[in-house]
Subunit: 477 residues, 2 copies
Amino acid sequence: MSVQATAQGARAAEPSTLPAGVRSELAEAVGAEHVLVGVAINPDTFTDESLHGLVQAPAAVVRPGSTAEVAAVVRTAARHRVPVTARGAGTGVSGGCVPSAGGIVLSFERMTAVLDLDLAGHTAVVQPGITLADLNAHLARHGLVYPVFPGTDASSVGGTVATNAGGMRAVRHGVTRSHVLGVEAVTGTGEVLRLGGAVVKRSTGYDLTQLVVGSEGTLALVTEATVRLSPLLGHSATILAPFVDVDEVAAVVPQLIAAGARPSVLEYIDRGTMKGLLRTNDLTLGVSAEVAERTGAYLVVVLEGRSAAEVEAELELVAALLDEAGALDTYILLEGQGDRLLEARENAFWMVKAAGADDLIDLVVPRARIPEYLRAVSAIAEEHGGRVFGCGHAGDGNIHFSVYEPDNERRHALLTAIYQAGLALGGVISGEHGIGAAKKPYFQELVDPALLAVHRQIKAVFDPAGVLNPGKVFDPA
Amino acid sequence: MSVQATAQGARAAEPSTLPAGVRSELAEAVGAEHVLVGVAINPDTFTDESLHGLVQAPAAVVRPGSTAEVAAVVRTAARHRVPVTARGAGTGVSGGCVPSAGGIVLSFERMTAVLDLDLAGHTAVVQPGITLADLNAHLARHGLVYPVFPGTDASSVGGTVATNAGGMRAVRHGVTRSHVLGVEAVTGTGEVLRLGGAVVKRSTGYDLTQLVVGSEGTLALVTEATVRLSPLLGHSATILAPFVDVDEVAAVVPQLIAAGARPSVLEYIDRGTMKGLLRTNDLTLGVSAEVAERTGAYLVVVLEGRSAAEVEAELELVAALLDEAGALDTYILLEGQGDRLLEARENAFWMVKAAGADDLIDLVVPRARIPEYLRAVSAIAEEHGGRVFGCGHAGDGNIHFSVYEPDNERRHALLTAIYQAGLALGGVISGEHGIGAAKKPYFQELVDPALLAVHRQIKAVFDPAGVLNPGKVFDPA
């Protein structure tokens, strides 16, 4: 059974071996000590963090140390038609880095350097294996940050580039795509392309950088990324505003933006999820029982600035607007409290995973349609008899649902209905997690067939042998 | 003689006719009154604003009124292998919309509607023929703006999308690419694709929207653009800071950004250009003769904000930093003065055109390399005996040179050297004007041949008959 099939919910780890002669070619490319097979392979490599239990042992893990070695590995793979799946930190949640049976995992664990840091230009050139945590520790010394904040800073830069990672703070800072100015990438033929560069303006040929960003390892393997940095903002404040319902939350968001506020987080948390977060994390936020009783949805607003005065001024503006918009109260959370609430919100993923959720949705709708969409999803869940819980990024319409429905067929029907409802409102299937293997069936089913055909043709341009992460995002024709 | 050849400097308008039967098919597609041939064609359609005098009469101008009509025109063109060049306002400066001999100009003059305005989501869906001026007049009523500001607001949205237009204010607001969330586009086979949508996060398949943005009408014709809007900022201030040389200007830019300033313009103007601007526009800015004497380069900083107080606070911060960085003085320009200086700077293009400049460069280098690059270009100009003058966007490394060298061969050598020097510093050929026909020879000569091959293959995916703006950006293989 292949990964494609396990995407439907089965749990399988098919034995996996390389065709004759490939192992020695790989050893020549990267050194024998960096070609792992059999029991030498860490079982963590078989999967990522997604909920589906997609598990597949690769035939080999190779650990190149340079772009030239990556290219040599891919050339070998293309010659022998062996699948190659790139792997960074393995923190993905759509099965994008789950290996192919008989395939190679190309691990970027040895390519973790900051190759260049332009302090005057505010750009860096980094290797894909570096984690966000390590990169930002390096940058903090210079008062800079790479402002991409997915759910965890254990992610590798390469992984976030592959999925166009977003996160809670994208509402202010933008998604990965906004910060990647260029990449060096190895195509499926082992050719090294340098796309883009350390410049923020460019009208010179097609934007192939942005084509590679978000392509989940199916077009080219990123061996260097040139990223845009921001000054580190030293001050922040968190406001918690309970509202009667999510309609009021959605209505206040454009008012905040229009008034010139630049929140870095605009998160809505429904009453039930908030209860769970507080209980699981042993948190109290000072919301009175009486207010909590009347609250249907909370809005969490984080403000950031260069000075306490700047944050204070924005805080006043935002608090006044929230008040006018019908907030039942506004709580300015102490630094520690705010951080703990956000951490709890980020960790909701683990809470959901531990609770045995069967799938995770991160659909996006135009932000004004959030209430309408939530109502549609409630009705769908009720109709299908599945349990669906959500919270999300009110600032950018990115909603995360956890879905509890163990039966594969019933879950597929439920998810299809939830996706269809989102698409009908002008949404897209995934805002930040990627399609990978887990959402592939839905993507293929729901995307315009003409668009799917273009995807396949573009893949053929970059990867004519079809060896780069085959069967992810979409299947070959 | 074709457009390709005129790009080398010749001025030619070859007679141009449609193959038999095509005219009636086009008339069926868009109505006979919207198919213009012969003397009915406005000669403005033969060219754009570029300096090369690229002139070519098309065989016909068609004026579709809907996406379906655009698709029908392209299908006819593909069937008969007739080139189709889209035209918006014709304000381009790289010859991107100059017709092909025997080809069709597809004018978007009838497709100028704002189809949707989402006031809560801050997005709009517009047709490509609308000008920036008209769109922003419409948006201003709602306190919103489409924050793309190329040299003129007479540009059409479609044209700015085709070239990924930038402009002076991109340093704060970003280039066109940052604001285009989705497009509806007609491929070279006449197929209608809907790419992206009114959402700011998306990890769902390849980013084909960004592939179409900046592709200069060679991949698909944009029939609708979904764009992101910003709140209109009602207050601004302009600071003029004279410095001894451009090195000091370049050094202060990252300091301003790192300190948290968000200037919407960071323009350097060298001493000679400033003299010309002041004289031509009959402007005085209050710079004393003594200071002017010591000044090698001026930095113009524009700040924008929601309130006078916000602008005032940023003004103080910026003035202090400029002072520390060695500004010979700092002049806060009165509202009218600042606007007139910026207008004069935008109109420098017309000054240069009137002065008989032979070419225009808008190369980009990483912003910290500006001084180094300017020195390199001075040395090249001296060596080649051509005259080269520049000013540019200090905030994003985008430098505009006007080149005076009437001899085609000598100019080609001079420009090649100037481009090569920029690429050697990590630059790209065009920051915002596009490659079009004018810069095509340099692009083809200087780009990695492997990358050029990928461009051609991608074009073949979208436009297998090669009818969409053929011979622009690059030639067929």
